[in-house]
């Protein structure tokens, strides 16, 4: 399942929902939660704004999820990504992979977040005291 939303998500509640729906199939659930940092390249961040391409972004996330399910034997996958204005310590992204065994779940989770960062149309703009700046791929978005 994929979701793109302005609202916050609750990592614990999402994992608990996946556990309840699992019905004993998966022996492992691996999750990655991305958060807004308060410092980037030595500058204090007061706000991080996430822009996306409605329609294409959802398609890209579904494709990433489908690729993970082709490559590994997964019982469930979840990608939630927030958009709009966020502040330091807010949740940005949640990626979960569930599988019978942990190795498949670890690898699938890493694949999904790594691929999301390079392939899904999202753009981050930082607000500093001095003004706004768009993040570019590379050191500042690892």
């Amino acid at each position: 399942m994929i979701r793109v939303q302005a609202d916050d998500f609750n990592t614990g509640a999402e994992l608990e929902r996946l556990r309840r729906e699992n019905n004993g199939q998966a022996g492992a659930m691996v999750s990655f939660t991305g958060l807004v940092r308060d410092l980037n390249e030595g500058d204090n961040i007061t706000q991080l704004t996430l822009e996306h391409y409605p329609g294409m972004t959802e398609k890209a996330l579904k494709k990433i999820e489908a690729q993970a399910n082709e490559q590994w034997d997964l019982t469930a996958t979840l990608i939630i990504h927030r958009v709009g204005p966020l502040t330091p310590n807010d949740n940005i992204v949640l990626v979960v992979a569930a599988s019978a065994h942990r190795k498949q779940a670890f690898r699938a989770c890493e694949f999904m977040i790594d691929t999301l960062k390079t392939n899904a149309p999202f753009w981050k703009k930082e607000t500093l005291i001095e003004g706004d700046r768009w993040i570019t791929p590379g050191n500042s978005n690892k």
Binding site: E51, I92, K117, P121, W123, P137
Partner: protein, 83 residues
């Protein structure tokens, strides 16, 4: 008509996020459309000359020399930085 969309820093440079235009006469691929848009002025000429820009046609990333037809949705955007 074709639907044009611009995102992130490019949207801010151009001062526009989306527009609908008639497919210009004689234009049937992305290089032709880009050249047509660049004739709008200096900000368009320089912003669309950025070779790091990605282009999507109908919400799929394509090569920068891809063909276009009437009814297409064409989007230009800088490298993505989500996650």
């Amino acid at each position: 008509m074709i639907q044009l969309r611009y995102f992130a820093s490019l949207r801010e440079s151009l001062g526009i996020g989306d527009e609908q235009i008639e497919l210009p006469d004689g234009v049937n691929n992305l290089p032709g459309l880009t050249r047509w848009l660049q004739r709008r002025g200096e900000s368009w000429e320089s912003a669309l000359a950025d070779t790091r820009l990605h282009i999507a046609v109908n919400q799929e990333i394509v090569k920068t020399d891809a063909a276009i037809v009437d009814g297409d949705e064409i989007a230009w955007f800088p490298p993505v930085t989500g996650g």
